[in-house]
Assembly symmetry: D2
Homo-oligomer: 502 residues x 4
Amino acid sequence: MSDSEGAGGVSERCGIVGVVLSREHVALSLYYALYALQHRGQEAAGIAVSDHADAGVGGESVTLLKGIGLVSEVFSRQQIAALRGTMGIGHVQYSTRGATRVETTEPLLVTYRNGELAIGLNGSLVNATALRKELERDGRIFHSDSDTEVIAQLLAKDLMHHTPLEAVKELMRRVVGSYSLVILLDSSVLAVRDPLGIKPLCIGALKDESGTPTGYIVASESPAIDTLGGELLRDVHPGEVLLLSPPESPRSPGRARQKGMPFESHQLYRGINSAHCIFEYVYFARPDSVIDGKLVYDVRLRIGERLAEEHPVEADIISPVPDSGITYAIGYARCSGIDYMEGLIKNRYVGRTFIMPEQSTRDTAVRLKLNVVQANVAGKRVVLVDDSIVRGTTSRIIVDHLKKKGAREVHLRIGSPPIIAPCYLGIDTPTRDELVACGRTLEEIAAFLHADSVRYVSPEGLIEAVGIEVSNLCLGCASGNYPVEIPGEQCIARQLRLSHFT
Amino acid sequence: MSDSEGAGGVSERCGIVGVVLSREHVALSLYYALYALQHRGQEAAGIAVSDHADAGVGGESVTLLKGIGLVSEVFSRQQIAALRGTMGIGHVQYSTRGATRVETTEPLLVTYRNGELAIGLNGSLVNATALRKELERDGRIFHSDSDTEVIAQLLAKDLMHHTPLEAVKELMRRVVGSYSLVILLDSSVLAVRDPLGIKPLCIGALKDESGTPTGYIVASESPAIDTLGGELLRDVHPGEVLLLSPPESPRSPGRARQKGMPFESHQLYRGINSAHCIFEYVYFARPDSVIDGKLVYDVRLRIGERLAEEHPVEADIISPVPDSGITYAIGYARCSGIDYMEGLIKNRYVGRTFIMPEQSTRDTAVRLKLNVVQANVAGKRVVLVDDSIVRGTTSRIIVDHLKKKGAREVHLRIGSPPIIAPCYLGIDTPTRDELVACGRTLEEIAAFLHADSVRYVSPEGLIEAVGIEVSNLCLGCASGNYPVEIPGEQCIARQLRLSHFT
Amino acid sequence: MSDSEGAGGVSERCGIVGVVLSREHVALSLYYALYALQHRGQEAAGIAVSDHADAGVGGESVTLLKGIGLVSEVFSRQQIAALRGTMGIGHVQYSTRGATRVETTEPLLVTYRNGELAIGLNGSLVNATALRKELERDGRIFHSDSDTEVIAQLLAKDLMHHTPLEAVKELMRRVVGSYSLVILLDSSVLAVRDPLGIKPLCIGALKDESGTPTGYIVASESPAIDTLGGELLRDVHPGEVLLLSPPESPRSPGRARQKGMPFESHQLYRGINSAHCIFEYVYFARPDSVIDGKLVYDVRLRIGERLAEEHPVEADIISPVPDSGITYAIGYARCSGIDYMEGLIKNRYVGRTFIMPEQSTRDTAVRLKLNVVQANVAGKRVVLVDDSIVRGTTSRIIVDHLKKKGAREVHLRIGSPPIIAPCYLGIDTPTRDELVACGRTLEEIAAFLHADSVRYVSPEGLIEAVGIEVSNLCLGCASGNYPVEIPGEQCIARQLRLSHFT
Amino acid sequence: MSDSEGAGGVSERCGIVGVVLSREHVALSLYYALYALQHRGQEAAGIAVSDHADAGVGGESVTLLKGIGLVSEVFSRQQIAALRGTMGIGHVQYSTRGATRVETTEPLLVTYRNGELAIGLNGSLVNATALRKELERDGRIFHSDSDTEVIAQLLAKDLMHHTPLEAVKELMRRVVGSYSLVILLDSSVLAVRDPLGIKPLCIGALKDESGTPTGYIVASESPAIDTLGGELLRDVHPGEVLLLSPPESPRSPGRARQKGMPFESHQLYRGINSAHCIFEYVYFARPDSVIDGKLVYDVRLRIGERLAEEHPVEADIISPVPDSGITYAIGYARCSGIDYMEGLIKNRYVGRTFIMPEQSTRDTAVRLKLNVVQANVAGKRVVLVDDSIVRGTTSRIIVDHLKKKGAREVHLRIGSPPIIAPCYLGIDTPTRDELVACGRTLEEIAAFLHADSVRYVSPEGLIEAVGIEVSNLCLGCASGNYPVEIPGEQCIARQLRLSHFT
């Protein structure tokens, strides 16, 4: 999936992080962690920190800073330095529905009966509209159309009569969909992963140069932990809630936390099955991420090898569509024995204010971003490897460009199955009639893309490469079967078992 | 009160406007009206317009644009042109509590059960904290600490079971304090003035060059009407709610609106007394405003004359503190026969990013803004006229500067009584211990200010100059008696009589 | 002349300042001085400081900071703090020819044979094009079309073989026109005023709170000196060059400077006559400026009185066009005995990005800035006082507005003679056919302006009010006779006498 | 050479472009071409266009737009649309000496005797200071310290008595160093490459979709041509000057241009030898560039293969330092048979305002940009391939990180010889004592870098891989022998033969 696809429509591709430190100010750590998650959202960024020491009873202790743009654009050194507090959460946003307004960016900070509450969400609720209507019927108002505000209202309601953990448990009972959450609440950070584990979330330990523990971090992806010099401990389990507070904090001497246990874990829901999003492995995550125990780089390399086994072709070079197809292409080349050679070079400098061609064809737009290395493709049979094809419009132009520069044959090899159905759980895909693979044979797709052949990795091959059983994956976009009930769609219900409080 | 005073603390000095037009887009009219109200708030500005034609059933039709800064800084020509809709509201904000965040600026736009709702407030609720706690106890959340959000929640709750008018009536029953409101709701603009009429609000008619009626405008002050070439019809009455919709709108053919009646008036509450804020006349309003039937310029001129009668002094020149004292000084000079002569010239270019002196004395800060015209004051006995004195720190420095430049005597004459108590109803005044007049005799005040004498207009003189009976004015800051109950303060209860729906 | 006139065309209305301090960094002083001169130019601002201590032999020691916008917009606190050096110059710019580019703003900083040279100019050279062509014929290049670059090239050429003073003397021999200059050169600041003294320039002494001298300042107007708490010493004489360096600088122990003489004065040219610009008094300068010994406020007050004597009229109120007509109106009211009353209120918040009406009439544009106080004018005979009338378009609309609001009669009284000829020496006036007074009788002008009468102060009255002999004033715009030769125009040659070096 | 090296010091790494079109406005084409050259300079960008049709005799027809930042930041759609003209030049700037001021960015636009002249330079003059002093001795001034201004002054001088071609010939006789130039002059664009061809420059033909020729483009690198859908014709020859004007322009009917010859070529100097910069191939150019007939991608691939032949090592994976080492690593892997595997992932989102760690070690700074893929390196023997090593500080940290994550051995293989001498001709390298390879044995370098071994490609291997004879290359930084005379350095004089005008 080349980046120029996507855009438009609903999307909840985001990155979240939460950090608690024993002593130091947390803001710069959150900033660097968000920077490591920048690929998950470039539209907006936000940080909320809590300075518990400064807050009186019911006092306001949370400071929020957010804005439109990249992490490096939103925050200045002075602003980060002024954010006082040892625990906090952060968020990068892919896009909002329609125009991005600051009001719809995250973390969302609200006050409620007991104080303040800040929330960052990665995911998409399937029943948000129904919940919103229910809350509105109760006379409540909404400042935005974000799922996060629905979550905030539900939480605040339940916090009236319940502990934070109970309130989160009730929240999880009500909302349906994908959600990884970081919640800054009172004097702790809660990390929540939905019972199906659709969106990733992991936890790491931080220490200083002498090896002394300094705190903990939860993040959408493990490179955020690496960036802070921390150690990935494990994934947050589906249905699990983590309660983080500073280690050895002199402020919570009486806390009933087991010695040696750095954070509290509460497995609120325990599913027999999970539904990890296949697209995190295929496209969305960084290659250096470890998600649910699997290194994404490895997964992609294996998919590439499998593609070569399943769909060999006589060719002169294996070229990726940069950057999305690179690791797949390396795997394909290694397995096929055909030379890996870059047929396309990507220009990395497109900024938000870049002037895209208006009246001219989409052709120019692609050429501005991807340039064909003529000498590498002229007269050659090219295997062009990419991670996925959505609409196919960009792929077709790339094939055209390769042929115009003399490529004798262009064979597309794709690291995911045909995408034939929309995603309702957080990946930005269009409706069925815009999906090139929906209702077309392989030959028809190849004809549409002007390619000599198009082949996709088989679902079995993909699943083997990922190394997770199919019953624990969500392949909704490739199968049309979804792990949660969606009106008008098929559902392969996952078996969930309600766990007791630990 | 020179501008460099004030700042810090709570403040709800704001300006509001609502416009409905029959055909044209309303955004530019709102922009110009806000510009005419710019003196009421320079911190932030916002416009919300409704394009009823574009909205389907329950569809989103309100577009909101707001930001930090002056009207001319917040909106670009392109943005105004893109705001489609024939009715809308606008708001300029003086300052928010603490740092200004976009989330706390107005209009506040929320969705609720029946659609969308935008609100702009000028005023300050006395029972906001209590109402907020009550709503929080009901499990509700707040995104900001603004009174406007309290109002939005109350309204949305009541709109569940009531018509807009009934909901506003219920709202007015619950909130205590000063409030002029513009509400953009469904297909109409509502204008609300609190039962005591503390903050100003007036209504005008708009017409095109041929004299054909084109719509209506409600605004904090009448110059907003003048700026659009409109005609001031009258003040909104205390306790009155106006329902504005476009005249002869083809979209509302069946509306039960009397022929010739341009807007619906509902006198929801009818007080025997009002409590018009005296400071609107004395300091806050533009001199060309007509508030509750009184031209502010005239009021100030008469106060100046009265001051001269009450507190004559042998002197060579009458000089204002610019700009706040100008009209008073003209009146004083006219009545006393002493020459009006500007002893101080004001530099008008201070911007928000102006570098004020850090370590040096406040002295330099004043000199940067006000320069003494030495030849006009040297060797002279100067009557220095200003509208009010709050802390007195700036006044003292001005007196010092005049004397340093050779003024033989400096006699302060002030167009308001001594300010001895804080304002809880919308004017930004400090606590008692910061008020120079609180607990000091006139001689002690003069000594503090380094002046040869200080005299204030008498309450009687002030009231006569305003031309409104004392029972219909709020002089809380000068008397310590407030028209609403405030814990720990004295209250002169106004007599309110609940009116029936018209 | 209301501000909305002007604009377009060539203009050299600028403000300049130079400061030398014995010890402190000079940047903040320059910033505040420029702020006091902001009315002389709002388009751009710049500061150049020299840190002589840091410079080696031929080293670069001058730091320049400039940009588009107001003083408060161009410089940040951090940037001012980073400008190290004890002497420097500053400049505010009214407008450049065509679009403002940073390259054409001032100070202009160049390197030349002996080091660095920064220049700030207020004025306009009549022979700039000829000099430029001459320099270009010599193979030189120009980076902009500013007169300042011509001056820089001439200076640099002469500095090859001459001392700075000799080079300035040669420069003054070559250039014709109006020019006040500040030059930052090596380890001193030079201040230059043209032999006719057309543009103002004055010098002041700075001292600290204990009264110890700390340095000197030259500036276009004396309020810049006041703002720094300094003392106006005197005007720079026409044809005089001042050489300022820090008092008691330990770095220049051997400097041949007379004990007790704070700066070197060199009367390079001594004219029998001067040609002080009348418009500085009438319109351009601040009222609190003392220019060539005359307080501008006094001059304007006397003009107003004289106007009343020369052109009395039966009327009910005297109203100024704010702000330009205020002091005149005070004078007129005082002399006539008719009440001073503001019939128009000015909105002060127009910013550079303000959206002016596009298609609608100029009418709206005026109404956005000036609002009629209906009660003050309705049914009244109004004497409307202003400083000058150029095109007359704005004046006509103001008269229309007054009449529309019920003014019975409107009599214009103008504090300057009819402007019938363009200015070539630094005031931004249009060509003859755009001047309303050019070729029209008083009755025709009144008819054009829709006024009941129009009267101008007589040249004699004006000259008496200024208090400078006519042979020492430039009234080119009112007479068509100019003090320097301008092709196609009449010239009343001033008698110049070359003085010897002092 | 990882990007975090470099910075500081003098640098003339820039990109230039010139385009002439027959009919269309040229600004958007220049914008896209500059975007394709963005890797050559991210500090500033500028475009100058000439609208010859609009200019009268001696009239101003050139419009210049430039600013600090990326191409996408400097120009808005509206500004590009407003740039009218069919021919123009553009420039991206790597960095200026010291702080970047708009005055020192390019194109430089000046007026001279015959009109206007805009210049964009890529290169560095060795005798700039001498030439500047000579010009200053002649009384000339400089607005900046750029070499471009020296060139502008020399050109303007010679254009007094000579044709543009003669003036350029004289310029080339005077200046010594590396320079590729685009000059916008009167009604044509001149493209100049220095007689040694040190910096690249190529020419391409543009055509519309129907294949009709629409104009020509000269650019630093061929991808700028590709981006516009044009065809690379050839490199500009060392010592050649191209004169471009629109094809079939109805405005130049009588132009003595040979039929079928799209632009005039003038081989002003013809050298027996060239001195193409080796670093353009090794590091600076895009991989998809064709420079002097060689595809950079191919060159790097061959160097990688050669490295594997010359310096084999037993290892488990071949990993590049991204992005600089990628193509080399692919070549090394292909030749060695060892798996290509990415051990490091680069974060691409560092912006200009990114907050780099202040007090902490450089360690964190590297980790923010490059993350180790632990699973790919743990327990493995890693061949880490990069293009070059300058200071070695970043390389050492990378090696440390790899080892910390479990790499068993790290062997550095470098695609260029040891850099032992500074570059005076346009590459940003430090002085000798900062160069890690200067005065160290391979073992000492390995020890310094904490690597198990370090090996560089041999000069012979490098030269063979480039495919250009050593006598036509500049390897000054690797040999200390330079192709032009530099005081204190050795010079291998190239043989130049003055050619006659064609």
